[in-house]
Symmetry: C2
Subunit: 345 residues, 2 copies
């Protein structure tokens, strides 16, 4: 090791991965796509490929067991991995689960965690095929790897968007972030006075969006039925703004997205206002919605138009025209990612 | 959660995995084999399968950065995963790496870790295709998942050994364990007086076996050349005794293994004696050798006989005849696993 040391927070999560993996080349003919998309792509026949993705969740960084019950944690860990396969327009089939737990967790706690994993496996039709279980020095760490499958011609990469393509988002956004604010508030109330019961009434939807996100496997089915292959796709884990910028950067295009078109549930909007937050900002930067963001060729507009699960929020432009958010007054504001960076703050 | 709580150490690592996954069924037709072997088996065509395995390493549990340089840790993490694919008689092709690090690790430390990963990828001809990098509350956690490939007819499972099959081990055993004893001793000397330089002279082989174990990908090639498919196979991560018992239990057979036939390098024996340890005990219970243990049908004896990388150490018997270690005096001693259990002591 040289004498000079560099703090890893200077690079950010994506910069760090890019830096550490820049010397690695793909040498096996079966390795079609490596680091840099939602999943790696491995050739298994002339027409078919497997998709592989992996995700590590750390107690105290990605989840807080004070308000994230273990059953929900298990469910969410599977759902977020399945979502990565959806983001490639593939179908998840298998997972492996690695778990490190300190001895403060009794067997019954792990049973709850695995019950959540089991419910998610049933829901998303994936098989638990392997894993590793070990002790930890402190806390709980869970790493899930997921294997999915797709026809090579159907795989949607991040880098396929073209100028004039239409930008589509599924479901509604911002709810998971606002749900987290409610949970944080009630945790603070509880910490101040443990005799006060948490007040979660009327917040069921947004709290469920935070604690029990769904992978949009249904969308992959709809796209198949509609005979639409997205020109690019990503799932929304870090916030809409961050994900749009990923697509634009990978595809070398710009974009216009329209504030008034971003789908936000009324319960999300009302609670955001209660917290003095702008609902659009929650949707743009909140993250953890696990909806899908994709682009389609204009020729496919009529196939997608009117689908209740999909909303057009903008279009791709020439790279040199930049990436813009058009607010409700028609003003164009440069789009900035303020998604999560676990190496900062 | 019920009121009753059970300490997870009561089940041990394997009992815990069995318990937590007992309600999981394989539902996808492509999931051929799930939890319980060195790797899961996923069908990709009539003749071919992918093999998937995953392994989590925790600082303070599986490695100590005081004497395990990060470059070696990276190498070893890849090698042990590739070894799991070898243990199925398959060829590893891709890995994903998930990493959690606390901010005390500068970028240069992670560069060292990835240099070790890179060297191992080159050595074992595997491609790094994905990963996840995040911060941790404390210490370093690394999870590697590996993807391998095999013809279905060539896959060696743990449960295929038959009575009268011959038990074969590759390389030599016990060195990694004795190497660890030397490193522990020098660590204690250093802690007592940091001015004393570690005395590792003459221990290169056993220390390298601990710090830089090799996956026996060469053996998979030799078996192919010899046209031998093992009737059962496992890699030696937890010690010879523990692994033999895994094969016997999965295959529903007994065994006789012979002390005098266990391959132990002279440097291992000499250092064991220096530590007042019985070399055979180190081989039986030490672990981390990452050699391969397999059974072959008697009909294949002539093909394997005389191969410098493979040693016959015993044979399988009828299940009801039990599992025995025959010592140098010819006495039969019941074989016991004293391999590592990270949930105890």
């Amino acid at each position: 090791m040289s004498d000079k040391t560099t703090n890893i927070s200077e690079l950010g999560e994506f910069g760090l991965i890019d830096h550490l993996t820049k010397n690695f080349e793909l040498k096996n003919a079966t390795s079609l796509v490596g680091v840099g998309d939602d999943a790696a792509v491995i050739s298994i026949s002339e027409e078919d490929a497997l998709l592989i993705s992996t995700d590590m969740l750390i107690e105290g960084i990605h989840f807080n067991l004070m308000y994230m019950p273990l059953k929900h944690l298990g469910y969410k860990a599977v759902a977020t991995n399945v979502s990565d396969i959806c983001a490639m327009n593939g179908v998840a089939e298998q997972i492996t689960v690695s778990l490190a737990v300190s001895s403060r967790f009794p067997l019954e706690a792990l049973e709850e965690l695995y019950e959540g994993i089991h419910i998610a496996c049933e829901k998303f039709n994936v098989d638990l095929v392997g894993g590793d279980t070990t002790s930890s020095v402190s806390g709980l760490t869970i790493n899930i790897s997921v294997v999915g499958r797709a026809k090579k011609k159907d795989i949607a990469y991040r880098n396929g968007a073209k100028e004039f393509d239409l930008l589509v988002v599924t479901g509604d956004l911002g709810a998971a972030y606002i749900g987290l604010q409610v949970l944080e508030r009630e945790k603070n109330v509880f910490n101040a006075n443990p005799n006060i019961q948490p007040d979660l009434d009327g917040h069921d939807y947004i709290i469920e969006r935070q604690l029990k996100p769904e992978a949009r496997v249904d969308i992959i089915g709809y796209l198949k039925e509609l005979d639409v292959v997205p020109t690019s796709m990503i799932d929304i884990s870090d916030g809409l703004a961050s994900e749009i910028l990923h697509l634009c950067k990978a595809s070398k295009v710009g974009c216009h997205i329209y504030d008034e078109k971003i789908p936000i549930d009324s319960k999300t909007s009302l609670t955001a206002i209660e917290f003095n937050l702008d609902p659009s900002t929650c949707a743009l930067n909140g993250g953890e919605d696990y909806e899908l963001l994709f682009t389609i060729a204009q020729a496919d507009f009529d196939k997608v138009k009117g689908n209740p699960h999909m909303t057009f929020i903008g279009h791709m432009t020439n790279e040199k025209d930049g990436t813009y958010f058009i607010d409700k007054n028609g003003s164009a504001i440069g789009l900035k990612a303020q998604g999560w960076n676990h190496f900062q703050g």
